[in-house]
Assembly symmetry: D2
Homo-oligomer: 276 residues x 4
């Protein structure tokens, strides 16, 4: 697919690139070899097509249901800094909604995005060891110790707000169990929890991103892409916030509060400022 390494790039058709994701000509569009119009539009949900496009395989109904659950669970969590950033940006540039969504997505940061990815990587690493012959308990213990020795937090566990249990996580694992999805991965997640308790004496609760990563891995989405699903989910919430900004703006109040915070008053002294 990538052509011979030694052949100069410029002489290969389309400079040597190709893709299996999708193709189009004037009459037809294919998405992973399915005809977009005849096979997909009006026959599949967005989530089903998302899975097909990303994994290259048509998903089962159970897999779609589990991923729907993940996408639903991360849509919104009250007025977050990312929602505020999106609303402020939209207010400043209403002609460029994509900028506001980008600002909101960029602001979702480590607690949502990084956490999803790291939880996915942790479980994927354990899975790799398990496939090589190690038992899940031992693999989980080694992984947890490596992280805790580094002074880092174990991703997928703990939450600043939901200290007694993240209701979204509990429900997600319940849905996965009902649908028979991510059975192995859920076992690895439990092994991680047990390893944390054994090492620290504390029982940390699974959080939403930990449960989400478990399911995504179980349906075949590489951990490298987990952030993308969190982004798709959170974009729905950000879009709703931007829509609310149209009718019930908060940007004016925030701008007023900011102006008050940086108003230049006499106490800031005469011109000339301090010396270097």
């Amino acid at each position: 697919m990538s052509g011979t390494a030694s052949e100069p790039a410029l002489h290969r058709p389309g400079f040597g690139i190709s893709t299996n994701v999708g193709h189009a000509n004037a009459q037809r569009i294919e998405l992973r070899r399915y005809d977009l119009v005849d096979d997909l539009i009006g026959h599949t949900s967005y989530t089903e097509t998302l899975l097909l496009t990303v994994t290259g395989r048509r998903p089962s109904a159970a897999q779609v249901g589990a991923v729907d659950a993940v996408l639903v669970s991360l849509v919104d969590h009250g007025m977050q800094p990312s929602a505020l950033a999106a609303r402020l940006t939209y207010s400043a540039a209403p002609d460029a909604l994509q900028g506001a969504l980008a600002a909101g997505v960029l602001g979702a940061g480590s607690s949502l995005l990084g956490s999803m990815e790291q939880a996915g990587k942790l479980l994927a690493d354990i899975g790799a060891e398990v496939r090589a012959g190690t038992g899940p308990r031992g693999a989980a213990e080694r992984a947890v110790n490596r992280i805790l020795d580094d002074g880092r937090r174990v991703p997928g566990f703990g939450h600043g707000l939901h200290r007694d249990g993240d209701p979204r996580a509990i429900r997600l694992l319940e849905v996965a169990s009902e649908l028979g999805v991510a059975v192995e991965e859920t076992g690895w997640l439990a092994a991680v929890g047990a390893a944390i308790e054994e090492r620290t004496g504390r029982r940390l609760v699974v959080n939403a991103t930990g449960a989400a990563a478990t399911i995504l891995l179980g349906v075949g989405i590489p951990w490298h892409l987990h952030r993308g699903l969190a982004i798709i989910s959170r974009t729905a919430g950000l879009l709703a916030h931007i829509g609310e900004e149209l009718d019930q703006p908060i940007a004016p109040q925030v701008r007023n509060a900011l102006r008050e915070a940086s108003w230049l008053t006499e106490e800031h002294g005469p011109t000339g400022g301090p010396d270097a």
Copy 2:
């Protein structure tokens, strides 16, 4: 919701802002007054929750089906510049997937995003006139003339590649009709097409963004937010391209081609360059 205009911002609780999108405390999370865990996760699809969150109303099955069709139709269209931008950015910064997705989204530009929004606005303007008593035909003619007089293109019609008909558009309108969704709006769209033909003598085909905007308006999504749905759709395709970049990278070939294009050779002369 926005508080009294005269009261200083700093003295109002939460500096005077509030939201109806969602709320959370340590035990529960609500999305538009529905309990996220008990009512939504495992009971709704992403698309259904997207509609609830954005419009504030629980959608009907027909509305969900129509919006699913829209989201599926815009996922990918072959290797687009936005997909290339996303893959190049991911290759340069694999530790920040959100940056790659943002780059891809920003690059979707006018042909997808602007077009969706403008088509939605055009139909919304016609709808406003219709609700004020004008017939759709007259409203469409006035709107079309205004646009063509300005030297602009009528959004929602025509396509550089699919000159004899955009298969996605035909299928989308078929799905909307089967589901009984956006009946009025589809009539306005047809009136626009007729007005174009009457004014220019040319019969332009409806394109995918025109059909998509028709459906989104019909389910109650304000035209200001239509770009957001296009972005959610296209993000799925971009995520798939980034996933493919993990296994079958094209960035190396592109970097080689770019290096060849900007290689410093003797013909570029000695140091000193031209005078100012």
Copy 3:
């Protein structure tokens, strides 16, 4: 430079692209035909190299001084929503400073970026008419009437805060005059101000972006790129705010205020929510 239109893209070296901005090989790097190392590093300021790179011509000292004044004038304006967005984003994702700067830049929006560009375009349009033979007064009047008839504001004039005169604008035009830069363009700007007063009876003050656009046009920067200079300027201020966030964070207080604004209390009712 772009190759023959009819020749297939894939058969041209470097797929038919080339650039005059810069070239490099293993030993040397050229920027607009100047040797980066021997001619520029340590011999020019950033602003001088910025002008050379963008316009392709080595600027005069007066031109550099005028552009320096523009870049200095737009660095910061108190705690703006864009600064808040940048600080919140950095707090959420400190491992990706570029995301925080991007969020801040995207949030600078219409009042800074769009305004710079529109003021530049307005003056460029007047300049085009003048070069075609019209007097500046008439060209300005026609342009102003076109804008006001459209119900829009004349860019470059007026300011929400500095109602009696934007001190930055006055100083910028003073600097331009002292340096003998943008003499013609300053005349066009004055003609616009006179045309506004004649049409509306109100004397609007020139604002910073209007004065900035005047100077940038005068040194040969196309109006399409004016936003870029505003961005470079504002990035310095955003970087300073992010630096302050490292030592004196405000994100925690903002997150607290947001949490208070969206805390789920009993008044939000039992599960089940309203019907569709």
Copy 4:
């Protein structure tokens, strides 16, 4: 500056935030206690004001010269993937230049941005040990061993293209030496190079980001912010590329090449695609 931790956020003026970066009222604007209009515009260069704003201190002429050298050195490096991403994005959305610049900046990625930051952190860590009493040689060896043991590359050294010496780095260190800037930091950089050679037997050349980080640290810019200077520098180059796209577009050729790469031909089979 941040208020008492225990006092509820909502009751503090401006919800408890303040800033030292800048303030404004209707008549005056201050930047780090200097009057923007009377002290800075027309009296300072952009680089000087950048340093004042970020560090809070008025820089010396030598410091300004060294930072100018850094900013000039990273403006462009031939047609990079980030330049291509910026040009493609601008071509798709010419009404939103900030999106194109954001796309280009996001695509500058690890090789420029991450590398600047990591080199700065490495030197800052060595500096911390030195201030605590360790000699630079020992501190450098420990730091280098830690990195190499981790299987990572030592930031600031080595370059894929400039294998026999990065001309920009050599020149930058020369300028710093002439100006008497970053003397200590340059010593630490040399110690790192020596430690690499001692550990690996290979003499790696200092690269541009390594030399740049050395200078930036030497003038008092925290390593956390180094990416920001790289971004400001590279934005100038991206802006030039976008300007060139206006006159000599490459996006059409790239779109053609991409279309060829993803054209749907008969070999892609009939509708229906493969089974799940």
